[in-house]
Symmetry: C2
Subunit: 189 residues, 2 copies
Amino acid sequence: MTLYAEGDVGHSVYWVAAGTVRTVNVGRDGNRIVRGFYRSGEFFGLERGPLRASSAEAVSETRAVCCSRSRLDALAASDAQVAHELLSWLLRMTERAQDLAALGRASATQKLAYFLIDLMDRGSAGRSIALPMSRTDIGDYLGLSSETVSRAFTILRRDGMIATHGRDVTLLDPAALQRMNGNLLKAHS
Amino acid sequence: MTLYAEGDVGHSVYWVAAGTVRTVNVGRDGNRIVRGFYRSGEFFGLERGPLRASSAEAVSETRAVCCSRSRLDALAASDAQVAHELLSWLLRMTERAQDLAALGRASATQKLAYFLIDLMDRGSAGRSIALPMSRTDIGDYLGLSSETVSRAFTILRRDGMIATHGRDVTLLDPAALQRMNGNLLKAHS
DNA sequence: CGCCGCCTTGATGAGGCTCAACTATTGTGG
DNA sequence: CCACAATAGTTGAGCCTCATCAAGGCGGCG
C-alpha cells in the first residue's frame, strides 16, 4: 500500500498505469495533509531533493511503473519530445497547486465543486466518477473536515448539481459546478 | 506598473533583476487573488498555454529582464546546466504552491509565520525584511483579509517573535516561527 | 496644514471544526 | 445464512476563528 515514505531516500519517478495514488504528509500532532492525487496516466515522485517530502500510498488497487531519476534525465536530455512533456507536466502541476491555494477563501461547497470538476477533467470519460478515495481523504486534500465534505456533498445534491450513490458521483450540471468558482479555473484541458 | 495582463497573448519569460513582482487574478465579483510574489533573482511568466493566466504587476520599483519562450527552449535544449536550473526552479515553484495549499487549515497567524519565513529564505540576508507589499497584498496571497493579517502581525509582535516598524519586519525568533507550522515546511534552501 | 492611503483595533455575524449520535455498508466467524 | 463487528458516511448542536463593517491612528506629500 505504501510506495515510499516521507523522509526516505529515493530518486525514482513513478507513472500510474492503473488505480490512484495519494501523496501524504503527517504533522507531529497527527494532522494529515493530502498533497495530491495521481490517477492513471499521471506522474508523481519527482522532487527537488534526495529525500521524499511526502509519502506515496496507493488509494485503491494500483499498478505503477517506476523509473530512476537519472534515466529520466538522460531521456529528457536526448529526446526533445520527452523534455517537452516533462515541462508541460510540471507546469500543469504548478497550476493545479496554485489553483488549490487560490481556493483558500472559497466556501467548502466551492472547494468540493472544484475537486469534482478537476477529477472529471483529468480522467473520467463520462459524467460519472467512481471516487476511489474516502471523504476524509478529500477533506485532507481540500483542507476540510470529513463532516464538512459530507455536508457539501449534501448541498450539491440538494441543488441538483450532482447525484451520489456511495462513492459513485454523477455530475448532473458540470457547467454550474464550474461557475461556482467564479470560473477561477480556466479550461485545463 | 503592469508587465502583462490576464488573458494577453505572450510567450515571454521574465527574470527579476531588482524589486518585486506579483501575479494577480481578479474574479468577476472583484475579489483579488495574488498567486505569487517574485523577488530579485527569480523567474516568472512561464505558462502552459499561449494566454496569460494572470496579470503581472510590479509591486515596487522593479527592473526585469525579458526572454522569449523560444529562446529559453533553445537554451535549455543546448545547455544541460540551463535545463537543470529550469527544472529545479519549476520543482521549487510547485513545492511552494503545494505548501501554500497545505496551509489551508492553518490559522491566520501560522500562515503569516510561513509567509515571513519563506520570504526570509528567499532573499533577505539578515533577519530584517523590508516588505515591498501591503497588508492587503499579503492577505490576497494567503487567503486572508488585510485586517486579519494586521491582527496576526500584532500577535506575533506580542509573542516576541517579530518586531515591526511599518513595513520593516525583524524576525526575532525565526526558529519559533518555523515551529508554528508543525515544521510542515522543511528547509527549502 | 490638511488630505489621502495604509495600518490598526473593535464589535458583530457567518461558516466550518469538534464532539456526538445514528445509519449504511462491508466483512467475519459461527 | 445470520449475528456481530468494524468502517464509512450522514446529520445535529455548540463553539471558535475569521470576514465584514466601522472607527480611529499614523505617516507621506502636495
